[in-house]
Point group: C2
Chain length 303, copies 2
């Protein structure tokens, strides 16, 4: 099944306790697409400036990522400059230059309009709605967001939630959007609004998955080797959508597998800067880590 992933393509400057990097490949659509590409071919929808290095284009193409939807336009590529301190749970932004992303108005071609599985990574809710309106027969739409849109475009974001099969948020976004400190309550409210499924990303604590009838508490991989958390949530999302598209199975059982695959992909992504760990990742490592997470979380009935 075909996968469309729309979001930012970025050149980042960042600093973690493990090093400092300038102008490295990043962006939500890139992290999600490369992660999904381990499971299925991907169409990426995004925009870059003329400064975007040819080597990154070559790398994305080498991962079976279709770039018909990557517009190269006059101007500079979206740029994020930030750092992580000792505990690395929080990203600190020094500067965000939207550059060419400011006028991003994606127009899908016929193939893209007919995509089955769609992931709308963090974009303005207006852009997300624009893309949704162009889709002909989506089988599954998953959408992400961020605190900025909750504060500034809440009504449009609620429209996205209504049209979304899987709404993806992190803990603080879920609390903020639904105005409750309780994650379970927040998820239930999002489902009342119209999302068929809600996934709350909890970073090192795993993820929670909710539908009207299903509750799943997904553990994470116990990661000791955390080098750069940038893109963890997007590689999680890429794993989820890629695995669902590959298996074309939306049963409860399989959605739970997809969430664990998401955790696996995120756990690899954070082990090195940019996409560097995924560049050298093998399918065997993915299945092995899935089994490790399973082993770490098994417990049996009371006797």
């Amino acid at each position: 099944m075909s996968v469309l992933i729309a979001g930012s393509v970025a050149l980042d400057d960042l600093k973690t306790p493990f090093g400092e990097k300038k102008n490295i490949l990043g962006g939500s659509a890139v992290h999600a697409s490369v992660s999904a590409s381990f499971f299925t071919p991907v169409d990426l929808v995004g925009v870059v400036g003329k400064d975007f290095p040819k080597e990154h284009i070559d790398f994305l193409e080498s991962r079976r990522i279709g770039l018909d939807g990557l517009k190269i336009t006059d101007g500079k590529t979206f740029h994020w400059d930030g750092y992580y301190e000792f505990d690395m749970n929080e990203a600190h932004t020094i500067k965000t230059d939207l550059n060419v992303l400011a006028d991003f108005d994606p127009v899908l071609n016929d193939r893209q309009k007919n995509s089955d599985f769609v992931f709308l990574a963090n974009l303005t809710p207006g852009t997300q709605l624009n893309i949704i309106s162009q889709l002909k027969k989506p089988k599954l739409i998953m959408a992400d967001t961020m605190n900025f849109w909750i504060e500034h475009s809440r009504q449009q974001l609620i429209e996205v939630v209504k049209k979304t099969d899987i709404m993806l948020l992190n803990e603080s976004e879920a609390r903020q959007l639904m105005g409750t400190p309780n994650l379970i309550t927040a998820a239930k409210e999002l489902i009342k609004l119209g999302a068929k499924c809600v996934i709350i990303k909890k970073g090192e604590h795993g993820a929670l998955l909710f539908t009207k009838t299903l509750h799943f508490s997904a553990p994470s991989f116990p990661q000791e080797n955390l080098t750069d958390p940038t893109g963890a949530g997007d590689s999680f999302a890429g794993g989820v959508i890629g695995y669902l598209a590959k298996s074309d199975d939306l049963s409860d059982l399989n959605i739970k597998r997809a969430v664990i695959i998401g955790s696996v992909m995120a756990s690899f992504n954070v082990e090195d800067f940019s996409l560097d760990r995924l560049r050298r990742l093998s399918e065997r490592e993915i299945t092995e880590r899935y089994e490790m997470i399973r082993k770490y979380s098994i417990f049996d009935c009371l006797p």
Copy 2:
């Protein structure tokens, strides 16, 4: 198998978004003992003042909790005055009056010295070491602590860790004690110090269990009905030690069950003020909730 639980017995004033209570029964030894009493008889070691109400004594005795070790002395009972705000993850202390707890110097009787399973709830590390030195043939010692002792009695606390089978800490305590933001690294360091097993309590995110060879990521019950978080960690601990003593089985498989039982007991404890939810809790509710947590966390192999 006999269980000894030593810690504070308190009369608390507290306020949560769901109400305000004055002079209610609390304290680490009380929450842990009542929780453990669902599984096994308990000996409580603690101290109260002459102001401690007879009705609380009657309640503890009704739960098969032996009170030979509860010293009633001149002075006032330990008193905590605090509150929780909207998100309830953090307790705010208005005032702590140690009162009779300031001079607590427990002397065990012969039966207590021969206890098999021992839980040293939050006390000064010096008092914990004093109790350990009186034990004749303990099968399992579990110890808790708090940030205050990490800051002020780190060396003595390290001695406790060395003599402990299960070291129990919350996330921030584990990070603070081992000087690392990474929980996995912190647990491994604690095991290097000498703890046979480390349990890191993560509140709504469950718990992590480590031994030299075992890693277990335990989910929590998805709690919507959070009324008063006071005593959650102690009722967790009471469930763990009570279940282990009842089953007298320290296999990896059974320690994992005990951690889930701990989560079950904590999840009930927070549903009402003081011990009120546990006063009306049935064994059937405990086993049902255990199965719910299991159901919520099951996922299968990749096909």
